[in-house]
Point group: C2
Chain length 314, copies 2
Amino acid sequence: MELNDLKNKILKGDRLAVSRAMTWIENEYDGYRDLMDALHPELGRAYRIGVTGPPGAGKSTFTNQLTKIFRKKEQRVGIIAIDPTSPFSGGAILGDRVRMSDLTLDRNVFIRSMATRGSMGGLARQATEVADILDAAGFDIIIYETVGVGQVELDIAEAADTTLVMIVPEGGDIIQGMKAGLMEIGDLFLLNKADRPGADRLKSDIEYVLHLKESKSDWYPGVFLTISNKAQGIVQVAEEIEKHRKFQTDSGILEQKRNHRLKKRVETLVEQKLRQFFWNGQRQQILNRYLDESKNNLSPYKLAEELLGELLDK
Amino acid sequence: MELNDLKNKILKGDRLAVSRAMTWIENEYDGYRDLMDALHPELGRAYRIGVTGPPGAGKSTFTNQLTKIFRKKEQRVGIIAIDPTSPFSGGAILGDRVRMSDLTLDRNVFIRSMATRGSMGGLARQATEVADILDAAGFDIIIYETVGVGQVELDIAEAADTTLVMIVPEGGDIIQGMKAGLMEIGDLFLLNKADRPGADRLKSDIEYVLHLKESKSDWYPGVFLTISNKAQGIVQVAEEIEKHRKFQTDSGILEQKRNHRLKKRVETLVEQKLRQFFWNGQRQQILNRYLDESKNNLSPYKLAEELLGELLDK
């Protein structure tokens, strides 16, 4: 398919074109950068929501319920699943997949699962670009679903306009979640499986920790009790997301966030190109010679330090 | 504690000094690079084993059993847990933690859990350095335990001399594992919970996929059936690890691997320094001006391309 043709079909919301563009991105097909260039002016209408939490917390069931609420308001929803335990990404047992099938039949819902490792690197970047395609195709809401571990997953969560962090009673104490950086990224917290023992205690623990944290804005993340598989508490969460969206839009924070994200992407791309430019044949030879000569004497830090001086002369 | 004092205590295997050094690394305390420099000539005796697999596969129970086998041979074992679902890292339910306590009482076993996010970046690098401390402290075997998702976790697995990939019947088809890059990194495969339905079918599936893969050496990864919680099949795995170690040592592959790892570390450090050097105040100003002027017209790719030309003039 020709680039311009593909672009126009995406803008009309053609599902086949959307799928194809995503494959271009995932396989880093030659034309994908031109496509991203061409679609760029069309971006920015979709609202992006991140849902993250430990394996088995019930993120997919929640995403399913939340999607239904958006659908009732005639919003078109894209779901990007980057969670090996998610039924959306094919990682769960058969029962879950069947449960999800009511969404997959809806033409106004688009589900894409992404492998946890882009063989050519940059999963967080690819996920953002897959979301861009959905944005250009007129989806109103995009939901990233990730397991809350690993830098890549946190990067994706940070690419969202509103980030929901899901916690469950059997997760035990919240120190792990704090360590993993989840307390920093949550705009709201869901305590799922709230009918299990320990939920109330955990809720007050989370609220205490959030209270300790200095807020960077006038937004104070709340903790919401949900029971996803009984569809309880989801409407309240949807309302809170709407509230957060309005808060961010009115205060200008949403625009700041998005500008900051663009800046980060450009910086990363500049550095990628810089790296390619720097490691020419001559510099690689010096590196190899250096390692051969001194590898048993100097630590990597010392090696890097001395080497950089030598390399910058070239 | 003074640097030289700390170094000498680590070399004697002092547990408190080992803990302290690890904290230095994790917090990027000022002196840690000097410490790594000082310890560098002492490294390379420990053998590093990676254990990776999906959440709930039974990695910790397996690690526990494997450790006991090494302990019978009077080998000292260090365990680095970077898995939010591992009882070693405090992420599992109480029952598991109790089950592990027999190891924590052994003075010749050192367990360190690491958060899934170093707030100052570089978790894979930090895990390698934590392993370096254990190496310098005279531990014979170091086991990295990670969940097999995310680039960081794969990087850590690749920092091992022998990598074990654990798969379980309820994980369903192996396509997910292939996508996640696990088939590439495994030196041997464990099919754990081998008493569950589907184990034989899965074993032959894995063997088929491994057979398709072109081997980079004369080592052919085998698939081993284990039932960790009944301590079945672990001895065979320990023997295979020993075989793989001998194969790599005799063929020179181990040295090549370690040289390659050193090279990668030095490259990464050089690039870090290069980045700091590149983004001086003037270049940052240009970046900001550029983004302000053109953010709505150009895609990140175009922005980066044009910007780099302008930046390299400065």
